[in-house]
């Protein structure tokens, strides 16, 4: 089944098929790694929307990437609670270990590092979401092992 067909099937799960645009974009992003123009064409095709509309929706939400990202995603929460227990030190440990700044991807395309707003693990901070799975609590000394894990996963 093509992505467009899978998207069309998702649309039938809702009283109005447009509601499926969020899960459809997620599906497309899982296939492509990010959301290139083809993704918007296929999602649009499956739901009878325009690619521009789909892109407009995607651009609103933090979890959709409209530019390429690395094979792995490391997201450090730097909101209040995690901030109070040392999130900045954790972030800087990742910056040192990966050699990049938040918002950037390692040269080999392996890891994208970024900061995020409250991830919902506040009492167990600092929370780091690694490929969408939470690590909590994370201290700077845990960082080298996490990065090593990502490097050997490839």
């Amino acid at each position: 089944m093509s992505l467009e067909d899978e998207v069309r099937a998702l649309g039938t799960q809702y009283p109005q098929s447009r509601s499926a645009v969020l899960p459809a974009l997620r599906l497309a992003q899982e296939r492509y790694g990010w959301l290139p123009p083809e993704a918007f064409r296929e999602v649009a095709g499956g739901l009878d929307l325009t690619p521009a509309y789909c892109q407009a929706v995607a651009s609103f939400y933090d979890m959709y990437h409209l530019k390429p990202i690395g094979r792995h995603l490391v997201e450090v929460c730097t909101n209040i609670s995690c901030g109070l227990v040392g999130a900045q030190a954790v972030l800087e440990a990742f910056e040192a270990e990966l050699g990049i700044h938040p918002g950037e991807t390692t040269e080999d395309g392996g890891v994208t590092l970024r900061t995020i707003e409250c991830a919902g693990g506040c009492g167990w901070g600092t929370v780091v979401s690694v490929d969408h799975r939470y690590r909590e609590p994370v201290k700077p000394e845990h960082v080298p092992a996490i990065v090593e894990e990502l490097r050997s996963a490839d």
Binding site: L25, Y64, I80
Partner: protein, 440 residues
């Protein structure tokens, strides 16, 4: 003093993610009981309990359910939407509820659906909560397998990262497949909600409280907690505290008891400086207010709110101007952009707070910050603007000398040693074209 957990009841002793375990502690008995009751009788029981919404608005749950038109009064299907978009900084109670008692949430959905004659339930789950998605989906499969759904469909709809989608009308917009920008009210969701149809929206914790209320009676629940704030609630404790975590306690419990008796107090014997009692959107309390009680009236008396139940403990190492900046950056990032005062106002607040923190602000600019807060308060399309302006105004109100010191000294008095020093915010990752700046 033994405190009986209700929402999280039984979860310490058994793995309640398993249907068989949940049934062993009486799970789904309340559903059987509810389905034998008239829908109006179920609403009546919730009204009797005086349960109030646990998302943050604290609106009487039974009353909200009573706004839904009865069958025959409206031609459209009725929808139940569960707000599982938990994103208020400091809050992680719904996460724990979904991870540990998913069946109690599902049972609550089915009982509530019966109460409003709905056969369509959507759980709008924040996209980042992958662990909750997997647990809830597995629990739903068990329920489906056991034939407990009774003709009701429950769809778990994952969000994609947007704090504003926790606002009920923005949630509906997002669920309809659009950018999550809030709608004007009226019309209210009870009349015109999802797909312009009558819709009841409730927080995860609120729905998960429904089965115990039906099982043991609304009068029983109303006897717990304090007047105007009945029952228990799950408080999320975090920040500079020894044992951060979720604690289910009766409403009316003091902040002192939560922070010191349950939370173990502040690590390394540091001094308490401030407490955020209900998530980042509520006004801050000073250290001398630690004996205040966590209930609606006590918090209102203190000039703040129960909010999402997220209690954030702040010790003496934290610069309150830096805290203000980080909080303002959050709201600037999450502002949907639809209405002028919030879109522009949150941006102005960040710029002014940057100047204040760097010691580059003039005296007039501290007043200007408060003026910007005034221009937002009460004038926006949705509560996000207020949620940004109120806490910032409270930091200035309670810690004015600290703000003044930044101005007088021309730098942050913490000299780089504040616990929030250099904290990098997501809003700084996005590159912007030059926009209007507060003059240098």
């Amino acid at each position: 003093m033994p405190i009986e957990a209700i929402v999280l009841g039984g979860a310490d002793e058994r793995d309640l993610t398993q249907l068989s375990e949940y049934r062993a502690v009486g799970g789904y008995d309340a559903l059987t009981k509810a389905r034998a009751m008239e829908p109006d009788a179920v609403v009546e029981e919730i009204l009797t309990s005086n349960l109030r919404g646990r998302g943050g608005a604290f609106f009487a749950t039974g009353r909200k359910a009573s706004f839904i038109p009865k069958p025959g009064q409206n031609p459209n299907p009725v929808y139940l939407t569960v707000n599982a978009d938990e994103s208020e900084p400091g809050t992680f109670k719904d996460r724990e509820i979904m991870l540990r008692v998913p069946h109690r949430l599902i049972e609550g959905c089915l009982i509530t659906a019966h109460a409003i004659a709905s056969t369509n339930v959507f759980i709008y789950l924040r996209g980042e909560y992958l662990d909750c998605f997997e647990v809830v989906r597995a629990a739903l499969e068990e329920v489906h397998g056991e034939g407990l759904l009774g003709g009701v469909t429950i769809v778990v709809h994952r969000g994609a990262g947007a704090y504003i989608c926790g606002e009920e009308t923005a949630l509906l917009e997002s669920l309809e497949g659009k950018r999550g920008q809030p709608r004007s009210k009226p019309p209210f969701p009870a009349i015109s909600g999802l797909y312009a149809s009558p819709t009841l929206i409730n927080n995860v914790e609120t729905i998960a409280t429904v089965p115990p209320i039906i099982q043991r009676g609304g009068a029983w629940y109303a006897g717990l907690g304090v007047e105007n704030s009945t029952g228990t609630r799950v408080f999320s404790l975090s920040g500079n505290v020894v044992r951060g975590g979720n604690y289910e306690l009766p409403l009316g419990t003091s902040l002192f008891e939560l922070v010191y008796d349950h939370g173990g107090g502040i690590p390394e014997d540091r001094k308490l400086k401030a407490i955020i009692p209900g998530g980042s959107s509520v006004p801050v309390l000073g250290a001398d207010e630690i004996h205040r009680r966590l209930d609606y009236d006590s918090m209102a008396e203190a000039g703040t709110m129960l909010g999402s139940g997220a209690v954030i403990v702040i010790d003496e190492r934290c610069c309150m101007v830096q805290l203000g900046l980080r909080v303002a950056q959050f709201y600037m990032h999450e502002s949907c952009g639809k209405c002028t005062p919030c879109r522009e106002g949150t941006r102005w607040m960040v710029q002014l707070l940057h100047k204040l923190e760097d010691g580059r602000a003039s005296q007039g600019e501290l007043d200007l910050l408060l003026d910007v807060c005034d221009r937002i308060l009460g004038k926006c399309l949705c509560p996000l603007g207020d949620a940004a302006a109120m806490p910032i105004a409270s930091y200035v109100d309670k810690f004015r000398e600290e703000f003044q010191e930044h101005i007088d000294a021309g730098r942050c008095p913490f000299g780089g040693e504040s616990s929030l020093e250099g904290l990098f915010a997501p809003v700084d990752q996005h590159t912007h074209d030059p926009v209007a700046q507060v003059p240098a």
